[in-house]
């Protein structure tokens, strides 16, 4: 009952604090199944990306988050499970037999869109870390979903790693053009190509 209210509170706060401006540069905000992949510098990333989607898209879009961080306290568990309906993945992979991508594939089969951070961890510096291979496997195993690069500009300055009080600087969220995995494209090539596509959005936010 309370979850939509909490979600509205959190997204409104994020939007007011950062002035969140969405630029739909390469695609339109349409209700089609998508995997949004973005740069990751702060725990606020998925909140801001989610908040910058139109309300109709928010209901079908689920953030993918690391269970090691989000299951640590009851508050985090509540936020990621109840409020944002997140898809939790095990980054440490305690059971090597499990396919870590299975929760994401289940969500995709269910018709949901996903928000993922292919760097795998928060990047405190400029630019992008090398991509983990999850993005490639998702594209290979579930080609129906559009792959949309999303650059989140400035949020690393709003909430630097390890700081509590956010700064009210302006953030821009740029949505790029959809990528498709070619029939015989190698993993390395695809990951590099998608990383370049995301990086090229970084300069366009001004």
């Amino acid at each position: 009952m309370l979850e939509p209210v909490v979600a509205t509170l959190i997204t409104s706060a994020a939007r007011i604090l950062t002035g969140a401006r969405s630029l739909w540069l390469g695609c339109a905000p349409e209700p089609v199944q998508r995997i949004y992949f973005a740069n990751h510098s702060s725990h606020g990333d998925f909140v801001l990306l989610w908040a910058s989607l139109p309300p109709t898209l928010r209901t079908i879009t689920r953030p993918v988050a690391g269970s090691d961080y989000w299951l640590k306290s009851p508050l985090r568990r509540y936020i990621i499970n109840q409020v944002f309906n997140g898809v939790l993945v095990d980054r440490e992979r305690k059971e090597p037999a499990d396919n870590p991508l299975q929760p994401m594939l289940d969500a995709l089969e269910n018709g949901d869109s996903l928000i993922i951070f292919p760097e795998g961890t928060r990047n405190p510096d400029e630019g992008l870390l090398p991509f983990k291979s999850g993005l490639y496997h998702l594209a290979r195993q579930y080609p129906q979903a559009q792959l949309i690069p999303v650059w989140i500009a400035n949020l690393n300055r709003v909430m630097p790693k390890g700081r509590v009080l956010p700064l009210p600087l302006l953030c821009t969220i740029s949505f790029g053009a959809a990528l498709t995995l070619d029939e015989d494209e190698s993993k390395t090539h695809f990951l590099e190509r998608s990383r370049e596509a995301l990086l090229s959005l970084a300069g366009e936010h001004a």
Binding site: G19, P124, N154, R157, P160, R163, L165, L167, P168, L170
Partner: protein
């Protein structure tokens, strides 16, 4: 509101009605075909309605509301400046101090009418505090540059802008209770100068006055805009403690300062590779795009009035 304020806002309303009518006719004559100049003109006029409405409401509510309004204006200006100014992770404490300490304190000093500290708080105390905070991070990369940027942002967006509501603290003999009109005078003259420079430039502009810094500004726009706006300042002498002649010369001075402010702020934008400071005011750009001339005119206007009329 007293009679003069009402008359003033009535005149502004009539002026905006005329502008909206002109915008409407121009749009009709272009037969619906998209014309970026006319669309931008109409967006600007609509934004002016909103800005006049906001200022009008603050005037109705009184002194505290006006201080809060300019606090908000400073906040938006500071966030635009800091967003465009790259800082490093170790600047975080300095930026926290800028947003959460210097900005509110500067406006509290106006509210409590503590002029002595108001005039030196940011230029002296914050000036010393910021580099101390920045040094805590132990990061010497571009140190002077980073410290200067945060200080500069505070000077422009907070210190300079705060001199507008600070006009309310001046005690001018025979002008008691009318200080809001001094704010109206400053804002109207400087903003009309911007508008008329834009109009004169669009109508007669040929020679660029500072092609490398601000490519849209022309000699014709500069001369026409400043002269006409100074005449408007002269015509507004009845809302000020000045005589008509004084009002003309003061208007000329703040218009020249405003023009220089526009050039300086444009040079910063150009260096950062952007056209506008932000996007919050449709057709105008950001808060700082609308405010650049006021930033440079306000402190000098404040001191002129303070030394000459109090």
């Amino acid at each position: 509101m007293d009679r003069q304020t009402l008359m003033l806002f009535g005149a502004i309303g009539a002026f905006l009605l005329l502008a909206s009518a002109i915008g409407f006719v121009l749009k009709r004559r272009s037969h619906g075909s998209p014309n970026p100049v006319i669309d931008n003109l109409n967006a600007r006029i609509n934004a002016w309605w909103v800005m006049v409405l906001v200022i009008g409401i603050a005037f109705l509510l009184g002194t505290t509301a006006v201080i809060v309004l300019f606090y908000t204006v400073s906040f938006y200006a500071l966030r635009e400046f800091m967003t465009l100014t790259p800082t490093r992770r170790s600047d975080y404490p300095a930026l926290v101090a800028a947003f959460y300490l210097a900005l509110p304190l500067q406006y509290l000093l106006i509210y409590y009418d503590w002029y002595g500290l108001f005039s030196i708080f940011i230029p002296v105390y914050v000036f010393l505090l910021l580099p101390i905070l920045a040094s805590l991070g132990g990061d010497s990369t571009h140190f002077l540059e980073r410290a200067s940027k945060v200080q500069w942002g505070l000077m422009i967006a907070v210190f300079c802008v705060s001199h507008v509501p600070a006009l309310l603290t001046l005690d001018i003999a025979g002008y008691e209770g009318r200080n809001l009109l001094l704010i109206a005078y400053l804002v109207i003259v400087v903003q009309m100068s911007d508008v008329l420079q834009y109009v004169c430039g669009k109508l007669f502009g040929k020679r660029k006055i500072a092609p490398n810094l601000s490519p849209s500004k022309t000699v014709e726009g500069f001369v026409g805009g400043i002269l006409l706006a100074s005449l408007i300042g002269c015509a507004l002498w009845w809302i000020t403690p000045f005589t008509a002649w004084q009002s003309l010369l003061i208007a000329l001075l703040i218009n020249l300062l405003g023009f220089a402010g526009g050039i300086v702020m444009s040079a910063i934008k150009r260096d950062r590779g952007v056209k506008d400071w932000g996007h919050m005011i449709e057709g105008h750009g950001g808060m700082l795009d609308r405010l650049d001339s006021v930033c440079f005119a306000a402190p000098i206007f404040f001191h002129l009035v303070r030394y000459g009329w109090t």
